[in-house]
Amino acid sequence: MVVFVTLPAGAGHVGYFLNRYGHAHARKMAEIAYHDLARRSSVPGGVYVFCDRERMSEVQRKLAIRLWDQLAVGGESVRLLNNPRTQLSRFDLLNKLHQEDINDFRAFRADALPKDLRWPVFVRQENDHAGPKSGLIHNSDDLWRAIAQGVLGGANLRDVLVVEYVDAVSPDGAYRKYGAYRVGGRIFGQHLLLGTEWSVKSDKRHKTPQAQQENRDYFLQNPHRDLLMPYFEMAGIEYGRVDYAFVDGRIQIWEINDNPQFVSKKPLRLSNEGKEFVYLEALEALEALQGGPPCPPRPIPLDAFGSGFWEEASSASSSMEAAPR
């Protein structure tokens, strides 16, 4: 059993998968909220995927680390993915990718913009996966208006990211956005979207036979498998989906989502490539690597709110900015 541990904002993905591909798979995967997991006095052994690090406030991250450490005591009975102690935030990952000369573009927090910002830029939020919050922006006044809109909408100023634009258009005039999953040791392409706009959206993707063929080939040939693993490692993400493109033949990483939807709540169409089988195989491979006795796994005691809880909660909350409301 692979258990996805999520925040409320990231809940529901397992349900979408089961609704789409059949509830028989419920024996293989489950989902639980962090706050529900923390209330348990013990949990069965298995694979636990810690999702939503990117959405966490500092206090949530500290409490998630407590849960991680307590589950880790289970030794071979458990396998834990996405350590919240070491996983990079989106901002830190983008920073590192630029510093290591992988990404050509830079990202900044809105409260720490440099003087040499390279225009155009766009605005997005650190803690959601909803893509750009603005169009391309060419001057400071429009930038601050967009930032103000985000802050008035409920974002903390430091969670608003200003990202320099790089033009990823292909010679044929199409923008190509790739999305590839990492599930433990496996990487497979999930989608290749082609579009005419710089921010390629699923609902505005090209639906031509050629675009569909490219998407199919991407999945079947899995051409970037070896290329992508180091970036997941850099981010400290063992389960997630990387979104990326190529500029002049060089990879540019937009983000790595640590709680991606394999299938949306209302899928637009039936997939006919069998991607779900690859996904399920990868999940099964995670269990196989557990190492411990397969059945019944040893229960692991949890005491999330016991000794040290108040120190942890108060140290994190005194240093934090407001969490989601």
Binding site: A148, V151, L152, G153, L157, S317, S318
Partner: protein, 298 residues
């Protein structure tokens, strides 16, 4: 015209509430999403009510205050209620009211827990009307579990507090309310004697003292909920978001009285609205590049 600025996530429910219970008010009121303040080409004249001002995040409040200053710079024909520039988090407001010697149901900010906790208690998130975010907590172990669960679910510890209950309390006390709309106070019958009773030697009533305390934070349009705790009616919660207009109207059993209530609210809000001035609207062309220094924290 009244412009009621509402957080994005409350827009749909507010529109429903107004349509169902306050159709006359709805006709002279426009809902504005906070995010729209940055994109509207101009700000029309009228009364601008900043909903949930005490619940805004600090950055959000500062940017809203920046817009508020622009609106009020027009003077003639423009007015603002629940001004973000004066608003503070609800826990701070409750602490200030308590410090003024007015009756507030005993509580403790989460930052002070677990020291000082007295059981039974319930944990509350400041913006949640009436209800609790925990069951009744009877021990420190239960408190840790309830509070930790709230933190993991995303509640802001700086906006979470513990309310201490009477020993025999098993749930939410009955609430009685007063709705403050500028100089008007619509007070429920059960609260009236307490509201009108003198609280100092000069004969100032509780209602007058509460209004003076709310003025410090610019809370002109607000509902105050009182509960009987320790044998006395004390302030339990106040609401400055759209929820301040009860979905279940007072005197619901009598439709004609319900209409009167909605009409009273409309009339009081209209009385707060400014007279028409020379300008019908002002440009929203703010100097956004000066925003960083305006929202910079000291």
């Amino acid at each position: 015209m009244i412009y009621w600025v509402i957080p994005t996530e409350q827009m749909a429910s507010t529109a429903d509430r107004l349509t169902e219970g306050y159709p006359a008010l709805h006709a002279q009121l426009r809902l504005v999403d906070y995010g729209q303040l940055a994109t509207m080409p101009e700000y029309p004249c009228g009364l601008w009510v900043f909903g949930s001002a005490t619940g805004l995040l600090e950055d959000q409040r500062r940017v809203a205050a920046y817009v508020e200053a622009r609106i009020l710079s027009a003077r003639d024909g423009f007015a603002a209620a629940n001004r973000p520039s004066l608003a503070r988090p609800r826990i701070d407001v409750l602490l200030a009211i308590e410090a003024a010697g007015l009756p507030v149901a005993p509580f403790l900010p989460a930052s002070a827990l677990p020291v000082g906790a007295r059981f039974p208690l319930v944990l509350r998130w400041e913006a949640a009307e009436g209800s609790f975010q925990s069951s009744v907590v009877l021990s420190e172990a239960e408190l840790a579990e309830a509070y930790g669960s709230m933190l993991l679910a995303g509640y802001d510890p700086e906006r979470t507090f513990a309310s201490f209950l009477d020993e025999d309390a098993m749930g939410l006390p009955d609430l009685v309310s007063a709705l403050r709309i500028g100089p008007t106070a619509l007070v429920s019958d059960a609260l009236s004697p307490t509201w009108d009773a003198a609280v100092d030697e000069d004969g100032k009533s509780l209602g007058q003292a509460m209004v003076a305390a709310l003025d410090v934070f610019g809370l002109d349009f607000v509902r105050l909920d009182f509960a009987s705790v320790g044998g006395r009616l004390r302030l339990w919660h106040f609401e400055d978001g759209p929820g301040l207009l009860p979905r279940n109207l007072p005197y619901q059993a009598n439709p004609s009285l319900a209409v009167n209530w909605a009409e009273d609210v409309r009339r009081a809000l209209t009385a707060m609205s400014p007279r028409a001035g020379r300008e019908r609207a002002i440009s929203s062309e703010l100097d956004w590049t000066s925003l960083p220094s305006s929202v910079a924290r000291t």
